[in-house]
Amino acid sequence: MEEVDVEPTTTLIPGVGLKQKHLGFEWGPGDILVYETNFRPAGERSGCPSVHVVRKDEDIYSPILRKLFNESHHIFVGLQNITEDVPSKNKKPQFVSISKNYRSVIRACMEELQHVAGVTCCAHLVLFVLRLHSQVSILLATELIWNLCEVLFIDAAPAGCLLLHLLDWVRLHKADVDEKAKEVLQSDSPTNHLAYWDVPSGTQTLTEFDMKWRHWHEECDRCLQDKSFASNPHLETICKILLGDEDAMLEHKELLGTWYHFLVSRLLFSHPTVKPAELHYYAKSSMDMFLDSRSVPEPLDSILLAAFEFDLHQVIKDCSIALNNWWFVAHLTDLLDHCKLLQSHNLHFGSNLREFLVLEYASGLVSHHSLWQLAVDYFDHCPEFGRVYLELQLERVPLETERKALKVLRICEQRHMTEQVRSICKIMAKRALSNNRLGSALSWSIRAKDAGFATLISERFLQDYCTRGSFSDLDLIDNLGPAMLLSDRLTFLGKYREFHRLYGENKFTEAGKLLLSLMTAKIAPRSFWMTLLTDALPLLEQKEVHIYTHTHTHTLSIKSCVFVCVFQGEDVETAKLELLRLALARNLAMAIVKEGTVEA
């Protein structure tokens, strides 16, 4: 099977190319930027060029089509969840039902587009209305193709039923297209003669029916030959048509409208028991007979013909080329894959084809501000590349608000995409820090499990405390819980705040013990030692409550000595230090006395 090279389309950028001959570009989310430039450095130069935003698919921005995307997403997800344990052939009714669901979604969308086109009557919206009509035509064609695929491939009606389904198919679409034609069709309807036609109920076999039909056909023919209708040319024509006279039918081309209507009529009147395998012969000849030798078959005709020839691959390929977005081929191919039809049609790359198309479709949704969420489910059901595509795309979702960031995070966390989680949290933390929102920065750092950043932010908190004398974001720091252990500095921050809290609640003994442990645990930053020792002062001075035992005081003394040694020569508040020494001495004395005294 040869790959036909389709000429790529050229899009012209207005106002570009006159002064400078090169076109620079840059890929963006859902678009490509282009600008006039000159890549040869010594080239002639000029200023004030524009940057043009070029987009490919505008359908995702249509509010009416959005329903199509949303509802078909729902059907798609439902289809993926059909269990594997039931063998495919038993699932046929389910698949047919799903196919009909897809089609009803298309029809609903089409009806709404028609409605809007009908009520829009402003003169300057003519282009808009034309576009709506164009979209309706495309959806019409889409549904036509889908319906035929459902009849031929999914429902796979055998001879007998096949024609009836095809009749329904043609009638449905004829009714869409021309109300008048519908009336005429009904008046010309062979239903009067369909008394013989109770085939679907299965009350008679195909052969029985075939015999009866031939008998009837012979009778009709005899009537015609007998010139029974000679007096009435109209009736004669009808009789000819009923006998399957192609020329007679072709005389009324305008009533038939399309070659496939002609095809079905032909089959109805001359080969009602047509088998699926015979279809392609009649289809090709009908098309040839119906179309002028001058007119070239249009893409829709080729697609339908390929369907009648049961060439699934050609149908999918031609639809991919003819239709602007991937919606149709992705969903249809996915359904056909579930029906296990791609394999049976010798498409060894069948499931690859399905995944390729679904990935294409989903990638097109990602740049949309709300439809991107639908894309997630499509990626989830692409076993080979879905995950890596999703990782790449989720990373790029703009995080305009915290709420959106949390939404993206939830999706990543559900799928254990730890690197993406870390990265998103880090981006949010950095952004918060740049805007001086320390509390937010800290909580994002904790969520990112970024010890380095948490340390940095804790330092900032502590610096703030030193300058202002109070903490910000108390709620956050008070409720750190085990997250506190992420970094030493963070632990210190949390514990130091706890010390202040205890002190504020007059729980001096606990506060004192905590303060001491902070000093001995060596997690206090050097810059804080003086502060800690100063904090100890009032505790040492407490007369009523005895906080520090002599061991504690001993420890404190050592600490303060160390402090002095380390900071010797630096700018240290000597007055404070003196006070501290005095307090330590007094405390030690009290401790010795108290501990030495035996309680009577």
Binding site: E3, P8, K21, H22, S46, G47, E58, I138, P299, S423
Partner: protein, 371 residues
């Protein structure tokens, strides 16, 4: 495809580079007018210039964004032999209201003796690392060890390529199986018959970059080079802009224990070659998922290349200026997809084209047009 919007860039001279930030909400442009402009996209999709400042004393060739994990950081390189790193400072509240922001220079990298032709940040997993290449044939790799202090950058590696360099591309793969890798393209006209694409790989043991591969089949000047996003594959894909567009596949060869030191050996395959531009190709760039490659050439076209599910590459679209003078009004609204704007009848309308042939018309259409 259609032009959705046009932004009046307002540079006083040629624009040499346009760069989207990671999330596609901001854009930077640089020009021969020696300035860089930063643009922000509003929720309604309109672009506003939030900063414009002189960055160099010569034409600015390229501008690029660091990963947002490092904050709002830009790097630029210029004919003035320097590259610079810029950081956005959150300004006063009245600045914000006026929609302005300030960018300050964090460092100037002055090691090059000639025009600096490209500047690219390394993948984020390597930290805040930057590479530049110059006409003097040297690739320089800098690192900022403290991401909170962007004024401290150290020159970590100097790679002498022996040919005047025009472009660099980092391999974006963060897989542990792939050590850091950078490709360098040369547009050197003086030395013919030597491979103009070199690939260097970082060695954990020697802690140096060593040459892993020279693409000997690329002997014409190379103007641009781009690694494709990795997608978890074991092999690498590299696109090259030279006298045509070429796509190479580099497959790391399994090494036995005796050759475990030294750079990876590769099997090099040519995946595709397109000469549709009929002339020099100046730029190549991949989209995010590496499903589409865009190239720009002397024929004034941007071409889009795509591989189908059978891995056959084809041109799927062309963008070209129409050569008309710029019209006065700037179009910020949505342009409708009118068939007339394309050079040829567009295939995507051919299904609908039948509508105009009257065969699939709805009755309503006839009514509305006749009213």
């Amino acid at each position: 495809m259609f032009v959705a919007r046009s932004i009046a860039a307002d540079h006083k001279d040629l624009i040499h580079d346009v760069s989207y930030d990671f999330h596609g909400r901001r854009m930077a442009t640089c020009s021969s007018d020696q300035s860089v402009k930063v643009w922000d996209k509003s929720d309604s999709g309109e672009w506003h210039c939030t900063a414009s400042w002189k960055t160099h004393s010569g034409s600015v060739w390229r501008v690029t964004w660091a990963h947002p994990e490092f904050g709002q950081v830009l790097a630029s390189c210029s004919f003035d032999r320097t590259a610079a790193v810029w950081e956005e400072i959150v300004g006063e509240s009245n600045d914000k209201q006026r929609g302005l922001s300030h960018w300050i220079k964090r460092t100037t990298l002055v090691d090059s003796r000639t025009s600096v032709t490209d500047v690219k940040f390394a993948p984020k997993h390597m930290g805040l690392v930057l590479a530049t290449c110059s006409a003097d044939g040297v690739v320089r790799i800098y690192e900022a060890p403290d991401v909170m202090n962007l004024s401290q950058w150290s020159l970590q590696h100097e790679i002498s390529c022996k040919l005047s360099c025009s472009c660099i591309s980092w391999n974006p793969s963060s897989s542990r199986a792939h050590p850091p890798m950078i490709s360098v393209g040369s547009d050197d006209n003086n030395v013919t018959y030597s491979g103009k694409v070199q690939i260097y790989e970082y060695n954990e043991n020697t802690r140096k970059y060593a040459k892993a591969e020279t693409l000997m089949t690329v002997t014409d000047p190379v103007h641009d080079i781009a690694f494709a996003p990795n997608l978890g594959r074991s092999f690498h894909v590299l696109a090259i802009a030279t006298k045509d567009v070429r796509i190479f596949k580099l497959v790391p060869l399994r090494r036995d224990s005796t050759t475990s030191s030294g750079p990876t050996k590769f099997e090099v395959q040519l995946l595709a070659q397109f000469d549709s531009h009929n002339s020099q190709v100046w730029r190549v760039s991949w989209n995010i998922t590496s499903t589409l490659l865009a190239s720009s050439g002397d024929d004034g076209c941007v071409r889009l290349w795509k591989a189908n599910y059978m891995d056959n590459w084809k041109c799927t679209g062309i963008l070209r200026g129409d050569g008309s003078p710029v019209n006065g009004s700037s179009v910020q609204g949505l342009a409708l997809n009118t068939p007339g704007s394309s050079g040829a009848p567009t295939p995507q309308n051919s299904v609908a084209g039948a509508a105009s042939a009257g065969r699939y018309e709805t009755s309503k259409k006839t009514n509305s047009l006749s009213s």
